[in-house]
């Protein structure tokens, strides 16, 4: 490589090293309502998910024990937040699994689920 080529190569490497500094957390679920593993006597009117960092809900579905296909829950588009609240559909007594997927600020797609049971009144 000729001398000015070396300079260009060095400049390119510097550009590569500086690129990371141009950019702007990994969220995990801290709490939920209904809580994971809880047994409740009244059907919830909403689901509340609390994350350690701001996250954007991208998918939510509810699977009832004994039912093969999960029910997709449509959530209105919302900005990233540490608290995500979604209206719950009418629910009958039974065991449920609430499955969620969120996009966290660091670009990670995080999935998880919460199990709860609605007991007969």
């Amino acid at each position: 490589m000729k001398p000015h080529g070396v300079k260009l190569g060095f400049a390119a490497l510097c550009a590569g090293l500086l690129l990371p500094l141009l950019a702007g957390a990994h969220a995990h679920l801290q709490a939920a309502q209904p809580a994971d593993g809880s047994v409740i006597t009244a059907a919830p009117d909403k689901f509340l998910l609390s994350f350690s960092e701001a996250a954007q809900l991208t998918s939510l579905s509810l699977l009832k024990a004994g039912v093969p296909e999960p029910q997709k829950i449509d959530a209105p588009p919302a900005a990233a937040s540490t608290q995500i609240s979604i209206a719950a559909p009418p629910l009958k007594p039974g065991s449920y699994e609430l499955r969620y997927r969120v996009l966290s600020a660091d670009g990670h797609i995080i999935s998880g689920s919460i199990h709860f049971t609605i007991a007969n009144p």
Binding site: K2, A12, L17, L19, G24, H28, I109
Partner: protein
Amino acid sequence: MNPDALAIAVRALALICLYQAAGAAFFVALFKRHSPLVLERVCRLGALTAVIGIVLVLLLPPLDAARMAGDFAGARDAALLRLALRSSRGDAHGWQLAGLTLVAVGLWFHRANGVAVWTLSIAVTGAALAAVALTLTGHTSVNPMRAWLAPLLAVHLLVAAFWFGALWPLWLMLRHETAAAAEVVLRRFSRIAIWLVPCIALAGLGMGFVLIDSWDTFKRPYGLILIAKAAVFALLLVLAALNRWRLTPALGAARNALRRSIITEYLLIAGVLAMTAALTSLYSPEH
């Protein structure tokens, strides 16, 4: 197959192509004068892997949208696709595409005219951008210690690209160049690698020191994959030492053994890149 598994597989292949293409550009810049017989082959290898890398990186936003939805129908959801493109991961994909395009164009034209400095400068610039694009996303990108973590990760990625990307060209040299020419390049490569490769471990240790705040991390998938990466890295150092001090000095008789050793090294690093794809897709130090 669920979207998570397919996304990890595509991301792993994209990383392998990206680091091969970037490393080929670095190899040509550093060793072109000593490898005239394989220069065109290495340029072609770099340009081809850059093009394959571009195709694979283009698949990642739809796959991320599918992962967001939890099923492949998400890949056609305009809102999720927009979210995937506007996320920090989308930024990284954009820089990877820009870098790979520069590598493909630069090396393709350098192949045809091996003396033009501008073509090589374009390729090296693209290689550097593509290699460090991952610093724009992931655990380090939002950490309060980002000012320290980003340069450490950049060094980690650039040296990894230099090391991994040089192995295939070195194998080509052992196949097509004379023993004397191959030995010159192998010795020069070793002289550089002996200083640079430890930087991978040092940068990794520095990042681990900041990111990992509990020994419990090593009981979780993130920590276990890190341990696996460190174990493979140690094995790679043993192979590199064997190449440097046993096989290269006896190149005349050990040419085939050295080629086999380089193939093993290549496959092991490809495995580490696949582990990195899983690590950066699914896990964080916290869980």
